[in-house]
């Protein structure tokens, strides 16, 4: 084999100079098994779909801005809210956390790469093709309605609507099959993160010296193992029903549609925690650095994360209070749901205690994390309201529920993701994101977010149900819906500013250097961007803040940590 002419993955320069090298450069990205390149691929992929799913949300908001609107047909509206939910959860949320995890976990624990680099590449491409397959449904085949075949059964796809009799054509098949494929990709990624964190740590990096982000990725990956797999199992049952004529969810043959509900939410509720736990990890890295204090209560943070993961597996049926469970069932799930508030409260307390008395720098990452704290608290409070079964009977499937979970997924998850971008972009690219554009991004997104989702609580309490494509003018929802849509537009502008910032700063951003934030975890000891081999020498760690120890040899952390 002529090794000389064959580009070795991960060794090529990131900026190609000639025509021939463009192909080589592209090739190096396709065949790469380097955790940093795969992380970047995951993240870029998630960002593309963030724009797509955001555009779908915008189209729905235009449709709902005024009563009796005809911007979208009812069929297309159904497809859009199904695809918006599915995309945001699986193609944006899951891929972005595993992208950031892929990039950072080996760097943070002082490893050369992930435990299984090829499995890593395999997982990414499974997820990628699963996502493309899902979106192929818009153009593929000829649907019943003559406008593509996109899934239109909502992202929770309750039986018996998904049965062949009620949803002919292939739209539900696209949904189920692509989620099975992506599920295996996610499973591979989770296994890889766990094996990396347990088996690849550098000398001295004990479990209780791991950065909290790594801890949270471990907990998330562990939760993913037992969360994504039930969904895969349920999807297999759905496929058996649809393709092989099975009867799992066929009431006439004795099957029970409620079984699908249980299986879906056994996945669906822990899934929310799978998404939010890495966001907690990001907040736990950003807040200490920008408060110039070590994290308050590290062991409590770890314990609380594991506690959240455990409790979150016992709460799923709070999505089903209106189904008509027994009162014992309702009580159990109401109580277990409220229990989640305890470890989460510990976390919020610890973050605030970290900021307390600190020398806080309100750079863009810290702005996003501060807003996250406040918004996550609100999201938790409405969550406890919805955990009260009678309250849920009143507001189930109303816009109040939509407002609640967008507070967690936009107001908390996405805010932390933005914080992560501003914080680690210098490490990944070598140049800083523009602070000025960053502040514009933050404030516009913050204002737009509150305009949209605060208002949505009220329109929900006024009785507006979710998943309707239009409404009558005499319901008293007109003004509120108009402002919700306006807020959506402001958020869209903010996201475009963010995208512009990402593109522009790559070329024109200030040079970052190794450690622009004066941070303490191992990734900041490498050059920006880190070389393919990560660390020239294997690092050795003696405390939770190895870079603090280097910078302050007279007052190292390991003197106090035991």
């Amino acid at each position: 084999m002529a090794d000389q002419t064959y580009p070795i993955p991960g060794t090529l320069d990131r900026t190609p100079s000639g025509g021939a090298t463009v192909l080589e450069w592209l090739h190096s990205w396709v065949v790469t098994v380097d955790h940093k390149k795969l992380g970047i691929l995951y993240i870029l992929y998630a960002l593309c779909f963030l724009l797509v799913a955001g555009a779908e949300a915008m189209a729905m908001r235009i449709q709902l801005a005024v009563p009796n609107n005809h911007f979208l047909s009812p069929e297309l509206f159904n497809e859009f809210f199904t695809m918006h939910g599915t995309t945001m959860v699986f193609l944006v949320g899951m891929t972005i956390i595993f992208g950031i995890g892929n990039y950072l976990v080996p760097l943070m624990i002082g490893a050369r790469d992930m435990a299984f680099p090829r499995l890593n590449a395999f997982s990414f491409w499974l997820s990628a093709f699963g996502g493309l397959f899902l979106y192929f449904s818009f153009i593929g085949g000829f649907g019943l309605y003559g406008m593509g075949n996109a899934p239109d059964v909502t992202w929770w796809a309750y039986a018996p609507l998904t049965a062949k009799a009620f949803t002919p054509g292939h739209n539900t098949d696209y949904w189920a099959l692509s989620l099975i494929v992506m599920g295996f990709g996610t499973l591979g990624a989770a296994i890889n993160i766990l094996a990396t964190a347990f088996s690849m740590r550098c000398r001295g990096m004990t479990l209780f010296r791991m950065p909290l982000f790594v801890w949270l990725m471990v907990v998330t990956s562990g939760l993913t193992l037992i969360t994504i797999t039930p969904l895969t199992a349920a999807q297999v049952m759905l496929v058996i029903d649809r393709y092989l004529g099975g009867h799992f969810f066929d009431a006439q043959a004795g099957g029970a549609p409620i079984v699908w509900m249980h299986f879906f939410w056994i996945f669906g509720h822990p899934e929310v925690y799978v998404l939010i736990l890495p966001a907690f990890g990001i907040a736990s890295e950003v807040i200490p650095v920008f408060s110039r204090k070590a994290i308050f209560g590290y062991p409590a943070m770890v314990a609380a994360s594991i506690g959240i993961a455990f409790v979150s597996t016992t709460v799923w049926a709070h999505h089903m209070f209106t189904v008509g469970m027994t009162s014992v069932g309702n009580t159990f799930f109401a109580l277990s749901t409220m229990m989640v508030g305890i470890p989460t409260g510990i976390k919020i307390f610890n973050w605030i205690a970290t900021m307390w008395g600190g020398k806080i720098r309100f750079a863009t990452p810290m702005l996003f994390c501060t807003a996250f704290l406040f918004q996550f608290l609100c999201a938790g409070l409405t969550g406890i309201m919805l955990a009260v079964a009678p309250w849920d009977w009143q507001l189930h499937n109303s816009y109040f529920v939509i407002a609640h979970f967008h507070y967690t997924l936009t107001g908390s998850f996405l805010f932390c993701m933005f914080a992560a971008f501003y914080y680690w972009y210098p490490k990944v690219t070598g140049s800083m994101l523009s602070e000025k554009l960053g502040k514009w991004h933050f404030w516009l997104f913050f204002i737009g977010f509150h305009l949209t989702f605060d208002t949505m609580h009220f329109v929900g309490m006024l009785g507006m149900p979710r998943s309707i494509y239009t409404y009558q003018a005499d319901r008293g929802w007109n003004t509120l819906n108009f402002w919700i849509s306006m807020g959506g537009m402001i958020q869209a502008i903010a996201v475009l500013i963010f995208a512009w910032n990402l593109i522009r700063s790559y070329r024109y951003g200030k040079v970052a250097g190794n450690d622009p934030w004066d941070a303490w975890t191992l990734e900041w000891s490498t050059p920006s961007p880190p070389p393919a081999y990560n660390f020239a020498e294997d690092p050795v760690v003696r405390s939770r803040r190895p870079l603090w120890d280097i910078k302050h040899p007279n007052d190292p952390d390991w003197k106090y940590e035991r």
Binding site: A115, F116, L119, L187, A190, I191, N192, L194, A195, T196, F198, S199, M200, R201, R203, G204, S221, G222, L225, I226, T227, I228, T229, P230, T232, A233, A234, V236, M237, I240, D241, L244, G245, G246, H247, F248, D250, Q252, A253, G254, G255, A256, V259, F263, I266, S525, F535, A536, E537, P539, V540, V541, R542, P546, D549, I550, P553
Partner: protein
């Protein structure tokens, strides 16, 4: 990084990544099986028409074969750890054979159910749950047998050495899992559900 004082930590040992990886996979797979088992248990006796689990014969011979394969693979792992390649190959071949017998037994059972009893996956709810649960397990047996066969081929070509013991044990863990799941499936389908 060289400025960090090197400290004496000669005992820096981490678990093998292969073991952590396969244990994670086993946890994930257990969740898949749990969902199918729960569906099976929930649907026992709920079929509105068609054949019932009474038509099943308890596959004692199959079960004995599969469970004893766990013992033979353990003996094989034991042998390779000590570098006894020939003994390893024999026990490994025995494992492969026992797994294959199990699969053939399942095929015989299914063909009787399909041809004689007329039970297919679309006949009724019982057929759907039975074939999916037992079929899911059989799929895992097939995957395991593919893995076992690859190792068997390597052994025949003399490419297996003592240093591969750990990788073989990782594959062994998967096979033990497939056996353990069969205990659950067997109990649920042939003892409790019949």
């Amino acid at each position: 990084m060289s400025t960090i004082p090197i400290f004496a930590d000669e005992n820096w040992k981490l678990p093998s990544r292969g073991r952590v990886g396969i244990l994670s996979l086993i946890i994930g797979e257990s969740a898949i099986f749990t969902i199918f088992v729960v569906a099976y248990v929930y649907y026992i006796g709920r079929s509105s028409y068609g054949p019932t689990p009474r038509i099943l014969d308890v596959p004692y011979f199959n079960t004995v074969c599969l469970l004893s394969s766990s013992l033979t693979i353990w003996l094989a792992e034991h042998a390779i750890e000590r570098g006894k390649i020939r003994t390893f190959g024999l026990w490994w071949a025995a494992t492969l054979l026992l797994g294959a017998i199990f699969l053939v037994g399942t095929a015989v059972e299914w063909s009787r159910l399909i041809v004689v009893e007329g039970l297919t996956i679309r006949t009724n709810l019982f057929g759907t749950t039975f074939y999916s649960l037992v079929g899911l397990h059989a799929t895992h047996v097939v995957v395991g047998l593919v893995g076992l066969s690859i190792v068997m081929l390597f052994t025949l070509f003399g490419r297996i050495e003592q240093r591969h013991a750990e990788r073989i044990q990782v594959l062994g863990l998967y096979w033990h899992f497939v056996d353990a799941v069969w205990v659950v499936v067997f109990t649920v389908v042939y003892i409790v559900g019949r």
